[in-house]
């Protein structure tokens, strides 16, 4: 056999690890053009009015989280920014914790977060300031009367990527990574942040005021068994299918369900599927109870969904990290998927190269030693 056909599997593993590790450390920008299936989901949600109901079925567990978590967050950000009412659930037992985290964290991003900061010319100055303030609550001291650097405050909504108001000095550029971290930061926590243009910022979270209310703006129903049977049950009566939410609170009195008795009252359904729940939502749900829907899914099952898209049974498909990246681009909030795409691109090229090498080796060995 040709030597090109005898590369050790561990060498290939190492190659894959490097192909993913290096671009994770050194990211690069890539051109982007959203594809029609992704636009189909985005424009359908974009067309909804504030107060309309989006049902988000987060049907995956941690095993597929890297593919589906970024698009779940992007869709939820889009929905909350548009002030839609969000009813979230999952069909997967082990997905309950994950879906709950995703919903709650996205909601937290929409808190009004007050950030106090001081700007310094160098990292050294910033660290000196931090050392001088050791032991004091940074959130109060920063930007106070005894400020050393150029001080200011800003009120942001991290999830919407928007600044509500600000005073004092120019704040740092709100990079996606900073917004993501601030979105979850507890009051009192602090960080040292570099802004390539303006210098070094010492910033701290002063307070956060929730803007989305549980049971009113959103709800997380948790999970029930049954898949298709559960979908029909929801189509008959939402409250029969889910008498209680994930925390066991009765759903009947929740204002988020105002005017939503069955699946037919849902204005749009997005299913984020790692398995066959997308097909189940179409066959048992959308066809029978008539509501528009879209599917976000792992790349593995995306090709299987094209017949439904062509038949107009779903408005679009968000496939894998690539789809999530396009979605993040469409809503203008680059996040997790945007961070993953460079590494995925290099890994892809490595696999294509491996296939090329093995075929080259195959042809060379055939030419030399006859057919094998």
């Amino acid at each position: 056999m040709h030597w090109l056909l005898r590369i050790d599997r561990r060498l290939i593993y190492a190659l894959v690890a490097i192909a993913i590790g290096l671009p994770t450390l050194w990211r690069f920008r890539l051109p982007i053009a959203p594809s029609p299936p992704v636009e189909g989901v985005h424009s359908a949600i974009e067309a909804l009015e504030p107060g309309q109901v989006l049902l988000a079925s987060l049907d995956f567990d941690p095993a597929s989280a890297p593919e589906l978590e970024p698009m779940s967050r992007a869709v939820l950000r889009h929905a909350f920014r548009k002030r839609l009412r969000v009813i979230a659930m999952t069909h997967w037992p082990q997905g309950v914790g994950l879906a709950n985290q995703i919903v709650e964290q996205t909601v937290r991003e929409f808190d009004e977060i007050t950030v106090a900061f001081e700007r310094f010319a160098s990292r050294q100055q910033a660290e000196q300031r931090r050392a001088a303030l050791a032991g004091q609550p940074l959130a109060e001291a920063l930007g106070g009367p005894a400020a050393v650097g150029a001080a200011g405050t800003a009120v942001i909504r991290a999830g919407a990527g928007s600044v509500r108001s600000r005073s004092g000095a120019e704040p740092p550029a709100w990079s996606p990574a900073l917004l993501q971290a601030l979105g979850q930061a507890e009051p009192g926590s602090s960080a040292l942040v570099e802004d390539p243009e303006r210098g070094w910022y010492l910033l701290a979270v002063r307070e956060r005021t929730p803007s989305l209310r549980y049971g009113e703006d959103y709800v997380f129903l948790g999970q029930r068994a049954g898949l298709g049977i559960l979908i029909v049950s929801m189509g008959q009566s939402m409250h029969a299918a889910f008498p209680a939410d994930a925390a066991g609170r009765p759903t009947r009195e929740m204002p988020v369900f105002r005017g939503v008795e069955t699946l037919g009252d849902v204005d749009y359904l997005i299913c984020l599927a790692a398995g066959n729940s997308g097909e189940a939502w179409v066959a048992y749900g959308a066809e029978r109870y008539k509501f528009p829907m879209g599917i976000g899914c792992t790349a593995v099952i995306a090709p299987d969904l094209y017949p439904y898209w062509q038949a107009g049974q779903i408005t679009g498909i968000v496939g894998g990290v690539k789809g999530a990246w396009e979605y993040e681009h469409l809503i203008g909030i680059p996040a997790q998927a945007t961070e993953m795409v460079p590494a995925q691109t290099v890994a892809h090229m490595v696999v294509i190269a491996l296939i090329a090498i093995c075929n080259l080796g195959y042809f060379l060995s055939r030419r030399r030693g006859g057919a094998r």
Binding site: I12, P62, L230, Y306, P307, V341, H348, I352
Partner: protein, 230 residues
């Protein structure tokens, strides 16, 4: 009679009714579907617990029979025990309070954990279940790269077609290809939307007809595998 005829009769009556029910929009007919799906959903919860039990049982047998590597099965029980303990401690506490004094502040609505334990299950989920599950499946990335290298050879016309389609789709999905020529991702999109879609549609139609046939066989009692042995 009780073991075979009754279950087959139940499947027949229930199955036939819910085929017909689809075409009967009356209120009582709708109510029957609402109730039946609600009940089946609850029953499937029981069935799920049965499934979990059989998994637990497998490891129990391994330990009891001292099969090679049964030490690992003890780890299964360690993980199971700690998680269930953290999850149910609040329930046990509440049940205790209820039996001891029938406390009026007894909360019916609460998820797992007691006052100080609430985050225990979440911690295990975030730092044990999540990373282990995600890592197990990410290992497939290495295997698929290695498999692509070892088996993807253009031996026949069919294999070549598969290979070329895979390469075009893969390359078309890489943002780099758009930088070279916009036609590459467009061609990949076309493969997905036409040849691929046509095949997936044919498979969908075929598989669905098969499923419908199986459903009919179940309703008419020809297919009885779900009843188990004897």
């Amino acid at each position: 009679m009780l073991k075979r005829t009754v279950p087959v009769a139940i499947a027949f009556v229930v199955g036939l009714w819910f085929v017909i029910q689809y075409f009967v929009p009356a209120g009582w007919s709708q109510q029957s579907l609402t109730d039946a799906t609600n009940w089946a959903k609850i029953l499937l919860g029981f069935a799920y617990i049965l499934g979990l039990y059989s998994l637990v049982h497998v490891h129990w047998l391994r330990i009891r029979r001292r099969q090679p590597g049964y030490g690992y099965s003890l780890l299964v029980y360690l993980g199971l025990g700690v998680t269930v303990a953290l999850g149910m401690v609040g329930e046990v506490e509440k049940a205790w309070n209820l039996l001891a004094g029938g406390s009026a502040s007894f909360a019916d609505f609460q998820t797992y954990g007691g006052p100080n334990w609430t985050s225990g299950v979440d911690w295990i989920y975030t730092y044990v279940l999540y990373p282990a599950s995600a890592t197990m499946f990410s290992i497939l990335a290495f295997f698929i790269a290695s498999a692509a290298y070892r088996t993807f050879r253009a031996r026949t016309l069919e294999a070549a077609l598969l290979l070329v389609a895979a390469a075009i789709v893969m390359f078309g999905r890489v943002p780099l290809s758009a930088a070279i020529d916009q036609a590459i991702p467009q061609f990949a999109d076309w493969i997905m939307a036409y040849p691929n879609m046509a095949v997936k549609r044919a498979i969908l139609i075929g598989v669905t007809l098969g499923m419908v046939a199986t459903s009919l066989r179940i309703i008419f009692g020809i297919e009885r595998a779900y009843l188990g042995g004897d």
